[in-house]
Assembly symmetry: C2
Homo-oligomer: 138 residues x 2
Amino acid sequence: METIEQILESKNIRVTAMRLLIYKFLAENQVAATLSDVENAFEKADRTTLYRTVKTFVERDIVHQIDDGTGIVKYALCEQNCSCEIETDLHLHFHCNNCNETVCLTEHKIPKIKVPDGFVSENINLVVKGMCDKCSGQ
Amino acid sequence: METIEQILESKNIRVTAMRLLIYKFLAENQVAATLSDVENAFEKADRTTLYRTVKTFVERDIVHQIDDGTGIVKYALCEQNCSCEIETDLHLHFHCNNCNETVCLTEHKIPKIKVPDGFVSENINLVVKGMCDKCSGQ
DNA sequence: AAAATAGATGCATTGGAAGTGCATTATTGC
DNA sequence: GCAATAATGCACTTCCAATGCATCTATTTT
């Protein structure tokens, strides 16, 4: 089991108190978090720091960015060994229209998508919307 | 062939000069348009009017809203008889990372997506990103 | 046809989120 | 410990979405 310190070091970014806290926060959360969520969790910290920390995490493939159609970007930790940029590794996201939460369905990979001739597919964003298990009442 | 007037009337919204113009603009455009695009096309008109006109179109299923991950919502006319809200009718969108244009691939329907027990799928948003036919150089 | 009502448009303004420049503080390597 | 580098915090800007209210236009009612 890798420690958070080791994960950060392996990505060549410095281990700081702030980064450890934000990592832990994202790890404890089952659902994808917005920047506001992070801000609310760390009210003493500056917005910019949180913003740039998360941005660094995204650049180093520690967290991936989710666009669930709400217009607000959400963030979630990548799986161990996940390579977000590789098309075949992409999982799908579920956005609940009721509770507004977005979760990663990591076990559900995105099926192969055909595009017309001349189009080159590099990346796929797939968001399923509806009612999550908690809200559908079972 | 339905006229634009008939289309608007069938959706129970009033036919106005502005609405006809915006409809025509969207119909002539192959690519999905942002609100800024609409604003640039009708510089004499007020931003709010354009904003609300497009919003009305979305509410009445005349245009559909596309979230291609750029953070800026784009709009495109629905196909004739399209029922955006019905899952089986959903087509996919292609966003070109090079020219930043987004097109509807209306002939490419979204494959059936399985979600875990307890989750109820109501809608699917699928955006493929990469290079479009114009930019891939063929 | 005139009055009453509903809807569309325009102006001003607000709010929220993303992003940046710069000074300050902390961390690392020597 | 010192210099170099990176992280953090503050102030500010920009961009887009959204709304309240006044005005204008069109439809409906009598």
